[in-house]
Every structure is written in structure tokens, then in C-alpha cells.
Amino acid sequence: MKRRAIALALLPLPAAAQTAGWGNLGKPVEKGFSWTAPLWPDFWMAWTPATLAVFVGIFSAMAILTLLEVRRPGGDARKGVLGLVTTRGDRLFISLLGTSYIFMAWLWLIGMPLWGPLGLAIAWGVFVFWKV
């Protein structure tokens, strides 16, 4: 009688264990956001948040330039330290092209990590928009 009462009392335990998550073996764990994981798996363009951010950055820079051009036409042309007449768009182009060369030179001559060229590229961009 006593043994049967104990067995009855233990009966809800598996259900309790189930709700507590003891049976969750082998289920996928929900990971957090990753900059480098595929954004839309199986899509041939193979977007990742990191590469998407690069293009969003470039296109928003171009959009800002367009807005500036509409508000103040003429492209803010001036003659800079390199002896070139540049507009805002030229300066964006020169800073982006220079950035890619800074990173390529660093990867070729020095290698990872890439914090150094990041600083150099930002300095180059500031220099171009300020003086060139």
C-alpha cells in the first residue's frame, strides 16, 4: 500500500522533467546575430550582413552626395593639394579607391589583423575630403 502510494506520487515527475527541458537533447540552439553568417541561405548571391553593410554604406554615401548636389549644385569644385580640380563625388571616389589600395598593400606586405589599414584608410578619407 505504502509502495503504491510512493509510485503514484512519483508519476508526475517525468512530465515535470519534460516541461523543465530535460528532453531537449539534440535540438538546435538558437544562435544570436552574426555579421558573417549567410543572410538568406541557399540564395545564389550569398549575402552576409557584413557585405550588405558595405554596399549600404557606399549607396548611402552616394545618396547623400546626390542630396547635397540638389541643394548646392556645382559639386563644390576646388583645386586641392594634388593639383587636381575635384568635386565631392571625385573625393568620395578617390577615398574609396585609396582605401582599397591601402588594404591590399597591407594584406600583401604585412597581413592580418587589419586594424592598421582601417586607421590609415580613415585618415586617408579625412585627408581627401579636407585637402584634395
Partner: protein
């Protein structure tokens, strides 16, 4: 502030859409591929900028880039002066003008792969007209399938034959636009032929010459079909130019990541040199 009618931009919209689909979408895809690794089946794994480091430090890339630079240098050094000389010696008026123009335009009308096949048959040592002539009549040991020097000479000759006409036609267009008054003034001043060329013809040709140099640089730097059909990159790797190597990596080895990284480096080089040419050649234009 002067009001400008900006409605004209809407007419550019179709071109913009077209460019978006045939240039921008593939370009963005290449950027995505260049930082990832794939084994097919549309599954991609992040690799960072490692491919760029691999390519920039690879002997194979340096060699292909060197060959490409040499090819483009030789093409520009030969085709631009040759084109100017031919344009200067072409008649300005009369019966021979259309004859010369059509003859000049003919090579450019032939598709690139046909040019490659034509020159391949033309220069084969045993049956080709030129190959047989050089080997058995002149007595030079010429075999473009065996000797790297002969292969180089052949692809250079082929490109000169195919594309000098472009420089000629552009320069000719610049030359005929010079009014007679300039020449008459030069004659009165007793200017020599060289002075006429240096101070009248060359400045008037500058705009079209800029375009010609830019087009010949970009086309010769990105050349693929003609050398591929003619030599297939051989003998060995001696005529494996950058684009041929790129296709080998992308489609032969199916290494999409390194190939994408390589094509972006390739693109950056083309973009920079074109920008440099354009900037240097239009720097002193006041308009």
C-alpha cells in the same frame, strides 16, 4: 541660384536599370563570393579577407599580372603611335577616303574568337600561310605553339592587326575636324611639318587620343578571347594573361572565392590606371 530642369534624368533610367542587372548585381555577387568559401550547392562559409591575402602573395598572380602589364604596355606603345602615323598619312579628301576608311574598319568588324581562329590557322608552322612562309621560305624557325617568344610575337601582331584601326579612325576624326585656316596660318609662318604636328594636329587630337588610349588600355588589359583561342595561354604558361588565369581558377578549378578576390583586385587595378590616365590627360583642360 539658377533653376535647372532635372527631368532629363528620367531618360537615363532605362540604362540605369540595365546596368544594374548586367553590372551591379554580378559585381555585388562577386564581392560576396570573395569573402566566402563554397563547395557548391549554394552553401557558403565565411572566410574573411583571406583570399585577398592569398592572391596578393601568390607567385602565380604576380606572374600573370606581369605578363598582362607587359602585353598592355607593348600594345599601347605600338598601337597608339602607329595609329597616329597611319591617320596622318591618310588622304583628307577625294576618292581614296572611303576606300581607306572601310579598309581600316574591316578588322574591327570581325568577332574576337574568329580573329583568334584566323590567326591560329594563319600562323600554324606547317599549313598556315605566314607560318609556312616564315619557316620554309624565309628560313626562320617560327613555331608559336612551341616557342614563347613566337607566341608573344603572334598575339601582339594579332592585336595590332585587330585594334590599331580604332586608334586610326579616332585620330582621323580628330584630324579632319581641324579647319584649313590653321594650316594656312602655319604655312604663312613657315612652320615645319613637325611644328604643324606638334602645335596644331596633336593638340586637336588630344581629346580623341585620350579616348583611344583609355579604350586600348581597358580592352588590352581585359583581353581574353583572342589569346585564348590562339594559344590557350601556352606554351606552358607563357601567354597566360590575367583574364585567362582568372577563368582557369574560377571555372577550371571552381575556386569561386579566390577567383572573386582576384577579379576584384583586377578591377581595382583597371579602375586606378584608367582614372590616372584620364586625370593626367584632362588635367590642364580649362573647360
Amino acid at each position: 541660384m539658377r533653376k535647372v530642369n532635372q527631368r532629363g534624368w528620367f531618360f537615363v533610367l532605362p540604362v540605369l536599370v540595365l546596368v544594374a542587372f548586367n553590372a551591379l548585381v554580378p559585381m555585388m555577387t562577386v564581392v560576396n563570393y570573395s569573402v566566402q568559401e563554397t563547395f557548391g550547392n549554394n552553401q557558403f562559409f565565411w572566410h574573411g579577407l583571406g583570399w585577398f591575402q592569398d592572391i596578393l602573395r601568390s607567385e602565380r598572380f604576380h606572374a600573370a599580372l606581369g605578363r598582362q602589364a607587359l602585353f598592355t604596355f607593348l600594345i599601347l606603345v605600338i598601337e597608339v603611335p602607329l595609329g597616329v602615323i597611319i591617320a596622318l598619312s591618310m588622304p583628307r579628301k577625294g576618292f581614296w577616303v572611303p576606300v581607306c576608311l572601310v579598309t581600316m574598319a574591316l578588322p574591327m568588324l570581325i568577332p574576337w574568337n574568329v580573329v583568334g581562329a584566323m590567326w591560329n590557322i594563319f600562323t600554324l608552322p606547317d599549313i598556315g600561310l605566314l607560318g609556312y612562309f616564315l619557316n620554309h621560305v624565309v628560313g626562320i624557325d617560327y613555331n608559336m605553339t612551341r616557342s614563347p617568344f613566337a607566341a608573344w610575337a603572334t598575339i601582339i601582331a594579332m592585336d595590332v592587326w585587330h585594334w590599331t584601326s580604332l586608334v586610326v579612325l579616332l585620330c582621323y576624326a580628330g584630324l579632319v575636324s581641324i579647319p584649313d585656316a590653321y594650316y594656312q596660318a602655319a604655312k604663312i609662318d613657315g612652320a615645319s611639318n613637325w611644328s604643324v604636328f606638334r602645335y596644331i594636329q596633336l593638340p586637336k587630337m588630344k581629346q580623341v587620343l585620350t579616348i583611344a588610349v583609355l579604350l586600348r588600355f581597358m580592352d588590352s588589359f581585359n583581353v581574353y578571347t583572342e589569346p585564348f583561342v590562339l594559344t590557350g595561354g601556352g606554351p606552358g604558361n607563357s601567354t597566360t594573361l590575367l583574364s585567362i588565369d582568372l577563368v582557369k581558377i574560377a571555372l577550371g578549378q571552381f575556386d569561386l572565392g579566390p577567383a572573386a578576390a582576384m577579379s576584384l583586385i583586377y578591377f581595382a587595378i583597371t579602375l586606378f590606371v584608367s582614372w590616372l590616365f584620364y586625370t593626367l590627360m584632362t588635367r590642364n583642360d580649362t573647360d
